[in-house]
Symmetry: C2
Subunit: 380 residues, 2 copies
């Protein structure tokens, strides 16, 4: 194998696939990074038990020559040293050559590295997903839906299914739902024709996989192709192939959790509320759950407060755009509230309460595509 390639383009691909590589793997060969060259270009692969990422660099694209010389072959390189070396090479061009003894020679400018490689034959076969049952989404919309939900997955393994984001199609909408059983985050997107062929009733994708996927994807309107099999999901863009396992088991029915009526409805400026909650949280950190209190006052005034006997207390009155219904005193986790408000894109939010002991919901002021639900904490 021999390639002469643009250093920065190679580095970009390396950074994508190393997101899937862990030095703590049960299968030692997976601690390496696979490089495969054909006459079309090179493919880098990184994998762990949950995720596999492949990145392709074409010889030439849109008039830009990325690879000047290429001979077929494949090799496993050290996933720690190889990236560090490529990053620090002196010249914008790098030549990588592999001999029969799996010795890798990397040359750039006057620097010459010799690395021990491993046989690519030992690398596990990456399963391919049947691409007949796929659909497409704009990348930026997918990233948005991930951002609006993934933070609410459970970090505890007591109910593994809750560590994932539930994805399904219902009523011509694509739904993303995540909950750790203390709060819930949901986002939906009207379906276009192509997406109506959602091939499974529902799937659950590990939150970690979605976080990594989101990091790799640029925020563009380009399409990403999504294919689903019984136990895996693949995301494919022009030069990237991202494969994740699915979580096994049935996701709990969450729609019943969402209150259908409300007793107190507040419309508030998102940023004002977020900052007041953030300040109140300062004195709530020593509590186990970052608990703060919200209390309605006369007219359009809401008081946010918290109290930490040893440190001190904080109270802040904010003026809201409107307040209807019953008076209310409610306590909840400031962390959950901050998470929920941070992903709201509208200037104002609508908060619907059904009493101090019932879950409440937060939505954008003018649409229902995002819903955040928080369970209160009993303090008085």
């Amino acid at each position: 194998m021999k390639i002469v390639i643009n250093r920065d383009k190679l580095m970009e691909s390396i950074q994508h696939v190393t997101k899937a590589i862990s030095s703590k793997t049960a299968i030692p060969i997976l601690a390496g990074l696979k490089i495969q060259s054909t006459h079309n270009g090179i493919t880098l692969t990184g994998s762990n038990s949950d995720i596999t990422i492949e990145s392709f660099i074409p010889v030439e694209e849109e008039g830009i020559q990325y690879i000047d010389e290429i001979e077929q072959g494949e090799i496993i390189v050290h996933a720690k040293y190889f990236p560090e070396i490529i990053r620090k090479l002196p010249s914008p061009s790098v030549q990588i050559e592999v001999d029969e003894q799996l010795q890798i020679t990397i040359q750039s400018g006057h620097a010459e590295f010799h690395l021990n490689g491993q046989d690519a034959e030992e690398y596990p076969q990456i399963s391919q997903i049947n691409t007949e049952t796929n659909f497409e989404l704009p990348i930026n919309l997918l990233k948005n839906m991930i951002k609006q939900t993934v933070f609410a997955v459970s970090t505890s393994e007591t109910r593994p299914i809750l560590t994932g984001v539930n994805i399904k199609v219902e009523g011509e909408q694509l739904h993303f739902v995540a909950t750790d059983s203390h709060r819930l985050a949901a986002s939906k997107l009207p379906l276009q024709e192509s997406i109506a062929e959602f091939p499974f009733e529902q799937v659950v994708i590990p939150g970690k996989s979605l976080n990594e996927l989101s990091k790799i994807l640029d925020d563009t309107e380009d399409k990403i192709q999504i294919s689903i099999s019984e136990n895996q999901i693949a995301f494919q863009t022009n030069h990237l192939y991202f494969l994740s396992r699915l979580l096994d088991g049935k996701y709990p029915e969450t729609s019943r959790l969402i209150p259908e009526e409300s007793k107190t409805v507040i419309h508030a400026d998102t940023k004002t509320l977020l900052q007041a909650v953030d300040r109140a949280s300062l004195l709530a950190k020593d509590n186990h759950n970052n608990v703060i209190r919200l209390q309605t006052k006369d007219q359009q005034i809401v008081e946010i407060s918290s109290n930490s006997p040893e440190i001190g207390k904080v109270e802040e009155e904010i003026t809201v755009a409107s307040m209807d219904g019953e008076e209310l005193k409610i306590s909840f986790s400031s962390k959950y509230m901050i998470d929920a408000l941070k992903i709201m894109e509208t200037e104002q939010v609508k908060i619907e309460f059904t009493g101090a002991m019932r879950p409440f919901i937060i939505k954008p002021i003018d649409h229902d595509q995002i819903l955040q639900l928080i369970l209160p904490v009993r303090t008085f």
Copy 2:
């Protein structure tokens, strides 16, 4: 006590003095931050067993009003919560009021915090240094001398005196020297009249103190006033008072370590050499000492290499500006070499070797104000 003060100016002072505050202190009151107000302004104080930092905010300076209202008093505030609260306050103005029960009320916009304070009477008295024996330096020159030496102090407590930077006056020059006994960094500055009154033969300042001092100081040509007593040193600018303990004991005589003659002299481009050493260090990290090798070749060629049997090896030939004297093969720590080259400000450096087993020195090409010395490692 009552003050109405500019939030950002207060925050800036808080950030300075908290550098001296540790939550792990043997004297519990020192985990707090002291605020003292007089009719001139307020003084914040943070302290630990090594360093005390005082920052003063005047009521008004150069036409800018920092404090709108001030009543005398003093209080100890929580050094964790107080800064976090001030940073997140909604309005650019903050009112701080302390009552008889040491309750602190912080108001800004509609936010109101109540914090428990501690009695300032319990805070230890900060010793003042006799200011008759002081001298001045431009701040940027002091920062340079710290940067050029402090990285070489020992991090081990086996010889505590080596954890400090030795400062003395010799031959009308101010000298800074640091060594961990494997390498040495020295910087000197021609004395101006005012500095000739260096009041002590030599002092040793903890490296940590100098690092913190350097972080707080802006890179200006303003003067900083330095006062020394038997066991403390104070640095004073317009509104900052930085007090550090001195290390006890005699600093070793280091001048004898510096070879007076050389057998091989190389002039090399600083950046080219630094990058080649950095690349070679990539495959030297698994060695205990990051050991790399330098070998002279024909003409103006120097080879930098390293070898890590399990991973691989690297060789790089660099062309140097000149090379005189004997052939040489020498091994040394790439980390020490990188540290030494990083602080060099000249485009070229001069390296003087006296054989493979003797310390070698690195200097700027055109002056002697900076000297870096590295002990080689015996490998062949």
